[in-house]
């Protein structure tokens, strides 16, 4: 774990040394516009994803065939996710060391990975289920479970994303050794 954290720290310090990273961080308007775009893209990506998930659970858009809704909303959803990933990477690039040592960002990345696996499984199950239930109020139970897990993951991802802004577990706040290891604090590191 220590070696892993040291590697990430060294990488973040290397990124931080880039002139563009500092310029991005210190530009009030550019940095804030990137962050705003990241949040607004949330409405496109998670907004569409929640509509599909809520449809599967029979809680929204129930008069529209489920597979039609899922198929048609996939493109704007992926467009939103693409913008979110690009702006997310830029936000990391602007503040690399603190971001790399953010407990919340690390949890968020794990949750993103889990959400991606769930989305892949969900898509496979939906293809396997065919169109027999398309106009039914709710999707088959397995798909409902997948939709519930998806909503839970994304709610947690948004919470973690929001909590990154708070410095409760920052390395300079000297958290417990367990939290410090999870957050990736490195002994003798400089303050950023």
């Amino acid at each position: 774990m220590e070696v892993f954290n040291q590697l990430i720290y060294d990488f973040a310090v290397w990124v931080d040394a880039h002139q563009w990273s500092t310029a991005l961080h210190e530009s009030f308007y550019v940095y804030n516009w990137i962050e705003s775009t990241h949040v607004v893209a949330l409405t496109l990506s998670i907004g569409m994803l929640f509509l599909i998930d809520l449809r599967m659970l029979g809680l929204a858009m129930v008069d529209i065939p489920a597979s039609t809704l899922a198929r048609r909303l996939s493109l704007p959803m992926f467009l939103g996710f693409t913008v979110m990933i690009i702006t997310g990477l830029l936000l990391f690039y602007a503040i690399p060391v603190r971001s790399a040592q953010s407990l919340w960002l690390r949890i968020k990345l794990v949750l993103l990975f889990a959400a991606a696996i769930n989305a892949w499984l969900f898509h496979r199950r939906m293809s396997a289920a065919g169109h027999s239930w398309d106009t039914a109020m709710k999707a088959p139970m397995r798909l409902q479970v997948g939709a519930s897990i998806s909503i839970t993951f994304w709610v947690l991802i948004v919470i973690c994303g929001r909590l990154i802004a708070y410095d409760w577990f920052d390395c300079r706040a000297e958290p417990s050794s367990f939290i410090a290891a999870l957050a990736g604090c490195v002994a003798g590191q400089e303050a950023f």
């Binding site: 705003s36 496109l44 907004g47 509509l51 529209i64 709610v155």
Partner: protein
């Protein structure tokens, strides 16, 4: 309410809004609202927000999630009005279904928004961008319930397609302004 009565009512509201914005009434109202904002900080949501940072952060996240759902509902409806998505689903069905979700998410957004505002009431009171957001939100709610919804409630397939596109573009612009000004509150003060 007939078409002309509604048009006259909307026009009257816009005229009153302009008079309010361009005269001293705006400043007088702003000053009169100060006691309300001072009181907001003493209410239970205000005290909880100021005492427990985690509670404030969680409500912030809930506000974001509500915004995402509201954004989804707006984008689906406006995307359909512009003929960009769900073109094979009847327009009236998309509008009806998305409106329900819109109302629920709007309620959640306002509830969480008021909670957050109570925690930083005096800070936001002095922020111009907060009032821009309130103006954008008020315009958005007014537009949805008094312009868009009544206009598209009837036989929507008979409405001029250009007008439908215009309504879709106006709606997108208004709700983008709500989201952008809301985010900008965090960068101000």
């Amino acid at each position: 309410m007939g078409t002309y009565t509604r048009t006259i009512s909307v026009g009257t509201v816009i005229v009153f809004g302009l008079i309010f914005a361009l005269t001293d009434a705006r400043h007088t109202t702003w000053q009169a609202l100060l006691p309300l904002f001072e009181w907001m900080e003493t209410t239970p949501p205000g005290v909880i927000s100021q005492t427990y940072g985690a509670a404030f952060a969680l409500v912030e996240a809930a506000h974001l999630i509500a915004m995402a759902v509201l954004g989804g509902a707006v984008l689906v409806a406006d995307g359909r009005l512009l003929g960009l998505i769900l073109r094979d689903v009847p327009l009236s069905r998309v509008l009806d279904q998305s409106h329900r979700l819109f109302v629920w998410s709007l309620a959640a957004m306002i509830l969480t928004g008021v909670f957050m505002a109570c925690g930083v009431a005096l800070k936001v009171y002095y922020l111009n961008v907060f009032w821009y957001k309130m103006l954008a939100l008020g315009t958005g709610v007014f537009f949805v319930f008094f312009v868009r919804r009544p206009l598209l409630r009837g036989d929507v397939e008979k409405v001029n397609p250009q007008l439908l596109r215009l309504v879709g573009i106006a709606s997108l612009m208004i709700w983008f302004s709500v989201a952008a000004t809301g985010r900008w509150i965090g960068f101000s003060g």
